[in-house]
Structure formats: structure tokens, C-alpha cells
């Protein structure tokens, strides 16, 4: 029983941390971020299983996490009002070539990062951008004019 409770608590801690850190940081992973993520995973595993080395324990934790994932996606699907909280919302960064600085600040994205993202999508200048949108998965979609 304690395994299930610890799994639930850790699941929601991970959920809160990923929502708080921001989608951009999680999608553009630098080596430091990657190492931090691995360390976090290891610490979370210790918090859940502690000294438990058993298969039954592992099965319980995996099943609990899987059920919570299904439950969360079901809640997000059934309750559209909760969707922005659970999944986040797309955020417009550039509209008709104009940078929306407030949204950039909100997600801690610099103009240089935005320009780099545009270049990677074969767009030479922000003047050629109709919309640049930060998607809920942390990627930036660029729609040219």
C-alpha cells in the first residue's frame, strides 16, 4: 500500500516540477539539463522504491504510474477547462513579424533563441513570420507569410 501512495505522490511532484520548470527548458535540453534530469529520476526512484528490490514492488510502481498517466490524459480529454492547467496552452511569440515580448519573457526565451529557431526552419527573418507559436510540447512552430 505504501508503494502505491509513494508512487502517487512522486508522480504529482514530477508533474508539478515539469509544469513549473517550463516547457521550453524541457524541450531544449542542454547537457546540464540532461544530467539534472537523470539525477532527478534517480532520486525519485529512491523515494518510491526505497530498499525494495522485488519484482512485485516494481510491478506495483509501474502499474500505478501507468494508471495515473491514463487517468490524467482522460481528465484532460473530458474536462477542457482543466486542459490549460494539465497540458498548457500554445503561446504566440510572433504575430505578423511583431515579437510579443511579454510572452517571450513569460517563457524566458530570448530573441536570439527565437531567431535561431526560425533559421532552423529555413526562415531568414522574423519579417517573414506570420505566426511563431510555442507549442505545449516546448517546440516552436513557425508559420511563414
Amino acid at each position: 500500500m505504501d508503494l502505491v501512495l509513494r508512487s502517487v505522490i512522486v508522480f504529482f511532484i514530477v508533474f508539478l516540477v515539469t509544469r513549473a520548470v517550463g516547457r521550453r527548458e524541457l524541450s531544449t535540453m542542454e547537457p546540464f539539463d540532461l544530467i539534472l534530469l537523470i539525477i532527478t529520476g534517480d532520486l525519485m526512484q529512491q523515494a518510491v522504491t526505497q530498499s525494495d528490490y522485488s519484482m512485485s514492488g516494481g510491478l506495483t510502481v509501474i502499474a500505478t504510474m501507468a494508471l495515473l498517466t491514463v487517468a490524467l490524459s482522460y481528465v484532460s480529454f473530458k474536462l477542457p477547462k482543466l486542459r490549460p492547467v494539465l497540458d498548457g496552452e500554445p503561446l504566440v511569440l510572433v504575430q505578423d513579424g511583431e515579437i510579443i515580448h511579454r510572452n517571450l519573457r513569460r517563457e524566458r526565451i530570448t530573441v536570439d533563441e527565437l531567431l535561431a529557431e526560425a533559421r532552423q526552419q529555413q526562415v531568414g527573418s522574423l519579417d517573414e513570420v506570420r505566426f511563431a507559436v510555442l507549442e505545449t510540447n516546448g517546440r516552436i512552430s513557425i508559420i511563414p507569410t
Binding site: M1, D2, L3, V4, Q50, S51, D52, Y53, S54, M55, S56, G57, L59, T60, A63, T64, A66, L67, V70
Partner: protein
């Protein structure tokens, strides 16, 4: 149409799998995978013996047990005799209070304590850890003797799950 044949069943297969995934979670919540502690009692004219021990454990788990002896008449040489499952395949980390002496009786461990007068209570706490490779039934019975004279016995088996 040929490519879509049989696909209508797929959501139901997936839903069935989700229900299947829920089974171990429900079992774990009901304590089927351990480690709720159970209290067992035995009594004789000389003493009562109470043992708090889990029925089910898992490999690697740390766990605790408590043995309580209440003397109803004087026990000159109280001996707590632990079944082989307390030490075989387990790490016995702590016994508090430590016994005056320890001995073996075959695969059993005998813990000797000082005299108990009528009305005295001896509480022994044990802290243990299951060896990760241990699986199966462990004899975690406890006997209370006055030197070699049996006074009370709590028979118990703990199942270690893989």
C-alpha cells in the same frame, strides 16, 4: 476496408489492458504484496506472549517486529526462541534490548534475558531487512521458554514475494 478489418476491437483490447494494469495496484492497496503488521498472541499460566510481525514481505524490504512478554508469575530464565526464518535469508540489524546471551538451538536462535517477576513486561524490538534473493515461506514463529521449559508459542509463517 481490408486494412481496417478487426480494428474496431482495438480500443476494447486497450481498455482491457488498462483494467489488467489496475489489478496489481488494487492488490497492493489491499496489502496483498505486504507489509501490514499482524499481532498474534499466545498465553499460558506463566506468561502471555505477543508478536507483531508482517505476513508478507518483498525482497530488500526493511521491516520491524515486536515481541512482548508479560509475566503472570516469575520466569527465572526467560528465553525467546526465534524460528529459522528470522535469520535465514534475512539481515537481523538490531535487537533492542540486546539479550544477555545468544545461542543456537539447531536452526533457531535463542535470546536469553534476565529474570522477570510476576507483572513484569519485556518488550523486544527487532529491525530486519529481507535479503534481495530470498523468496518463499519463512518460519517466523516465536517460542517463550523458561530455560528449557516451554511456556508459550506463536506459530507464524511470513511469505517473501519475489
Amino acid at each position: 476496408m481490408r486494412d481496417l478489418r478487426g480494428r474496431s476491437r482495438r480500443p476494447w483490447i486497450r481498455r482491457g489492458l488498462v483494467v489488467l494494469i489496475a489489478v496489481p495496484v488494487v492488490l497492493a492497496l489491499t496489502g496483498a504484496f505486504g507489509q501490514p503488521t499482524k499481532t498474534l498472541r499466545a498465553a499460558s499460566a506463566a506468561a502471555t506472549l505477543q508478536v507483531e510481525v508482517p505476513d508478507k514481505l518483498r525482497g530488500g524490504l526493511m521491516w520491524r517486529a515486536r515481541i512482548v512478554v508479560r509475566a503472570t508469575s516469575t520466569i527465572e530464565h526467560p528465553r525467546i526462541v526465534l524460528g529459522p526464518g528470522w535469520v535465514h535469508g534475512m539481515q537481523l540489524n538490531t535487537i533492542e534490548p540486546a539479550p544477555e546471551s545468544e545461542a543456537s538451538r539447531g536452526p533457531r536462535v535463542v535470546l536469553s534475558y534476565g529474570e522477570l517477576a510476576a507483572g513484569d513486561e519485556l518488550v523486544v524490538d527487532l529491525q530486519l531487512q529481507v535479503d534481495p534473493t530470498t523468496v518463499g515461506r519463512q518460519d517466523t514463529s516465536v517460542d517463550l521458554d523458561d530455560e528449557a521449559r516451554p511456556l508459550a508459542r506463536v506459530a507464524h509463517t511470513t511469505r517473501v514475494l519475489p
